[in-house]
C-alpha cells in the first residue's frame, strides 16, 4: 500500500511538472486519492469528507490569516512608497559603487522578506531595486539574484512562515523561532557572499540601450508608471517593515497582533487621518488579491497533511519511510543535501507542495522528531524561495530583469545549496 501511495505522489508531481494541473488542485486530488486507497470512510472519524476535506482545509487557517495580513502590510508599504524610498536612498548614497547599491538593495529585500514573501515581496523590492541596480552597472542576472537572495535572507524572520511551520508540524512558535534564528546566519552570510562574489566575478555592465528612449520606457510601462506616482515616505516610516519583527522577536508578542501593529504603524506614519479609512480598506482588499494564491495553496496543503496523517496512510508508509530515511546524522546531512534539487521545479521535496505531505509522513511515522523535520523543510524552503524557476518570485524577478529564470537558478543555486547544507548540519547536530 505504501508503494501505491508513493506512486500516487509521483503522479501528482508529474501533473504539477507537466503543468496539467495547478499545484493546489493536484495536492487536493492527491489527498483524496490517498484517503481512498488507504480505505478511509466517506464520512465520520478519519474520513475523506470530515477529516481530510473539512478539517484539512482549515488546518492552516492561522497561516492563511498571517499571509493575508502580511500581504496587507506589503500593499500598504508599496502604496505609501516605503519600499521605493529605501531603494532610492540607497542609490543616492552609494550609486557610483555597484556593490554598495547591491548590498543595500539586498538589505531592503531582506527587510521586506520578513513581512511578506513570494512574488509580492520580489515586486516591492524589485520594481525600483532591479532597474536601479542595472542602472549603476550590476549585471541583470546578479540584480535578479540579489532581490531573491535578499528575500530569502528575510525568510527565517517571515512571521507567516513561522506560523506555517508551527501549524503544519504541530510545533510551538518558540521552537520554530529558535531554529530560524540558527538558520538566519547561513541565509544572511551566503546572501552577502552572493553579492560580493558575483559583483566581483561579473564586474559591471553598462549598455547603450534603445529601451531607455523607447515610448514604452518614456511612460507606457504600467509598473514603473505606478512607481512614478510615489513620493518619498518620511524617514520614521521607513522603520515600518521592522515593527512586526521587533514585537514578535524582541517582545515575544503573538504573530498576528505583531503584524497588525506593523499595519497600524505604517498607516499612522504615512497617512493623513481623513485618508486612513480609505487607504486601509483599499490596501486590505488589494492584499486579498495578493494573498489568494498562497492561501489556495495552504488550503490544499492542509488537506494533503490531513490525508497523509490518516491512520491507514501512516501504517502503510511507516515501514517504507523508516527503511528509506537515514538516521545517522552524517548520512542524514549527506543524503538530504544531495536531494536538495528535488525541491526545485515543484519537485517532491518542495515544502509548499508535496514536500509538506512528505514532512507530515516523516512526523506521523515517527521517523524524525518534528523539530528535525522543521530543520529539513526550512532548509529546503531557503532553496525553493530563491532558485526554483517555477516559483512566482523567481519568474517575476528574472523576467523583470530581462533574463530567464533558469539563468537565475544556475547563478543562485550554489549559494542556496550551501544555506540548505548549513541548515541540515544544524538540524543533525542538534536534533538527531
Amino acid at each position: 500500500m505504501g508503494i501505491v501511495i508513493l506512486l500516487l505522489m509521483l503522479v501528482g508531481v508529474g501533473l504539477m511538472l507537466a503543468r496539467k494541473l495547478p499545484t493546489a488542485f493536484a495536492l487536493v486530488l492527491l489527498a483524496v486519492a490517498i484517503a481512498v486507497v488507504v480505505g478511509a470512510p466517506l464520512t465520520g472519524e478519519n474520513s475523506i469528507v470530515d477529516t481530510v476535506l473539512q478539517e484539512g482545509a482549515v488546518a492552516l487557517a492561522a497561516t492563511m490569516l498571517a499571509v493575508l495580513i502580511g500581504s496587507w502590510l506589503g500593499k500598504l508599504m508599496e502604496e505609501t512608497g516605503i519600499a521605493g524610498t529605501l531603494v532610492r536612498k540607497i542609490v543616492e548614497f552609494g550609486g557610483d559603487r555597484p556593490t554598495v547599491v547591491a548590498l543595500g538593495v539586498l538589505a531592503v529585500s531582506a527587510l521586506i522578506g520578513t513581512v511578506t514573501g513570494s512574488a509580492p515581496a520580489a515586486m516591492m523590492a524589485g520594481i525600483i531595486g532591479i532597474p536601479a541596480m542595472v542602472a549603476v552597472g550590476v549585471p541583470k542576472t546578479t540584480a535578479a539574484g540579489t532581490i531573491l537572495m535578499g528575500i530569502a535572507a528575510g525568510i527565517p524572520f517571515e512571521l507567516p512562515v513561522w506560523q506555517f511551520f508551527s501549524t503544519a508540524l504541530d510545533l510551538p512558535i518558540d521552537t520554530v523561532r529558535g531554529f530560524m534564528l540558527r538558520l538566519f546566519p547561513f541565509a544572511a552570510v551566503f546572501a552577502i557572499l552572493f553579492v560580493l562574489v558575483e559583483t566581483r566575478r561579473r564586474g559591471v555592465e553598462h549598455a547603450w540601450s534603445l529601451a531607455s528612449m523607447s515610448e514604452r520606457s518614456a511612460g507606457g510601462d504600467r509598473r514603473r508608471g505606478r512607481a512614478r506616482q510615489l513620493g518619498d515616505a518620511p524617514w520614521y516610516a521607513l522603520f515600518a517593515p521592522a515593527v512586526p519583527l521587533v514585537l514578535a522577536l524582541g517582545f515575544g508578542l503573538a504573530i498576528i497582533p505583531s503584524m497588525l501593529a506593523g499595519v497600524l504603524y505604517t498607516l499612522v506614519t504615512t497617512t493623513r487621518p481623513r485618508e486612513m479609512n480609505k487607504r486601509l480598506l483599499r490596501t486590505l482588499y488589494a492584499g486579498f488579491e495578493v494573498a489568494a494564491p498562497p492561501i489556495a495553496l495552504f488550503v490544499a496543503i492542509g488537506i494533503l497533511l490531513a490525508a497523509v496523517q490518516l491512520p491507514g496512510a501512516v501504517a502503510a508508509l511507516n515501514p517504507l519511510v523508516t527503511a528509506l530515511s537515514p538516521s545517522h546524522p552524517v548520512v542524514f546531512v549527506l543524503v538530504f543535501t544531495l536531494l536538495t534539487p528535488l525541491c526545485l521545479y515543484r519537485g517532491p521535496l518542495n515544502v509548499y507542495g508535496l514536500g509538506a505531505g512528505i514532512a507530515g509522513v516523516l512526523i506521523s511515522a515517527g521517523v524524525y522528531p518534528a523539530v528535525a523535520v522543521l530543520g529539513l523543510t526550512a532548509s529546503y524552503n531557503q532553496v525553493f524561495g530563491v532558485a526554483d524557476p517555477t516559483s512566482t518570485q523567481t519568474v517575476w524577478a528574472a523576467q523583470y530583469s530581462g533574463v530567464s529564470p533558469q539563468q537565475v537558478m544556475l547563478r543562485t543555486l550554489p549559494y542556496v545549496w550551501c544555506v540548505a547544507l548549513g541548515g541540515l548540519i544544524v538540524t543533525a547536530a542538534t536534533q538527531l
Binding site: 520594481i127 555592465e205 553598462h206
Partner: protein, 249 residues
C-alpha cells in the same frame, strides 16, 4: 549634451575616421544608399509614419532626450523636470569636458562585434569582466546607418560615426568605472544633495548621470551634430516598427 546644430554641415567625418569608425563592408554601417536594408520590410505607409515620428523627435531640444532618459531611470520618479534638465545638462557637459581631457586617461577596452542587438534592444555594451570589453551590436548599428540615410540625418551622423560613437560611449563608461575620482567629480558636477546636516552635505548619486556623461563624451569625441540620444530614440521607433511588421507577417 551635444549642442543642437540642426542642419549644420557635418563636422563628424574626420573624427569618426580618426576613431576607426568607418563602416567595414559586411558589418555595421554596410547598408549604403540604395542597398536593401531591414527597413525595406516596412510598408511605404509605415516608413512614412516612421519618418514623421523621427522628424518630431528631431524637433526636440537635445537636452530633452537627457530629461527623458533620467525620467525613465528608477529613483527619479516624480522629480521636477527642471531639476532633471539641470542634471542632464550638467552630466552631458561633464562628458564633453572628459572628451577634451581624453589624453590623460588610460586605453580603451577591447572591441568585440556581435549580432542580436535588435532582439535585446541594445546598440553597444561595456562589460568589465572577465576582461574589459566593448561589445558592438552590428545589426543595430547597421539599422542606425540605414535610418540616418532614410531620415536624411547624414549631416548630423555621417557614415561610420555611429560605430565610433558607440565605442566612445562605452569607453566613457570604462573610464568612469576605473576612476573613482572621476565618479566623485561627476557627483560633484550634478550637485545633488542626498543628505544635509547643518554645514555638512553629502553629495548624492544621480542614477543615469553616467549614461548621459557617456553620450556627451561620445558626441564630443566624434563631433556629432546632434546628441546620440536622438538617433537612439529614432532607432527605438524603428525597432518598434520592425517588431510590428514581424507581428503582421
Amino acid at each position: 549634451m551635444t549642442a543642437g546644430t540642426r542642419g549644420a554641415p557635418p563636422p563628424a567625418t574626420a573624427a569618426a575616421a580618426r576613431e576607426g569608425g568607418q563602416a567595414r563592408p559586411g558589418t555595421a554601417g554596410a547598408a549604403g544608399p540604395g542597398a536593401p536594408g531591414v527597413l525595406d520590410r516596412l510598408t511605404p505607409a509605415r516608413r512614412a509614419a516612421l519618418r514623421a515620428e523621427c522628424a518630431r523627435l528631431a524637433d526636440l531640444d537635445d537636452a530633452e532626450f537627457g530629461v527623458r532618459l533620467l525620467a525613465a531611470t528608477p529613483t527619479h520618479e516624480g522629480r521636477d523636470p527642471a531639476l532633471l534638465r539641470r542634471w542632464a545638462e550638467a552630466a552631458a557637459a561633464f562628458g564633453v569636458g572628459l572628451a577634451a581631457d581624453r589624453g590623460t586617461h588610460g586605453p580603451a577596452a577591447r572591441v568585440v562585434e556581435r549580432d542580436g542587438g535588435l532582439e535585446q534592444l541594445l546598440l553597444a555594451r561595456y562589460v568589465s569582466r572577465p576582461a574589459p570589453a566593448v561589445e558592438l551590436f552590428t545589426d543595430t548599428l547597421a539599422l542606425g546607418e540605414e535610418l540616418a540615410d532614410l531620415l536624411g540625418w547624414r549631416a548630423w551622423f555621417p557614415p561610420g560615426a555611429l560605430r565610433a560613437a558607440a565605442v566612445a560611449h562605452e569607453e566613457a563608461h570604462c573610464l568612469l568605472h576605473r576612476d573613482p575620482a572621476l565618479r566623485r567629480a561627476l557627483r560633484g558636477r550634478t550637485g545633488h544633495t542626498a543628505l544635509r546636516l547643518g554645514r555638512f552635505r553629502i553629495a548624492g548619486h544621480v542614477a543615469g548621470a553616467d549614461e548621459l556623461t557617456a553620450h556627451g563624451y561620445a558626441g564630443a569625441r566624434c563631433g556629432l551634430g546632434r546628441s546620440p540620444l536622438l538617433l537612439t530614440a529614432a532607432l527605438a521607433s524603428a525597432a518598434g516598427a520592425l517588431e510590428e511588421a514581424r507581428g503582421q507577417d
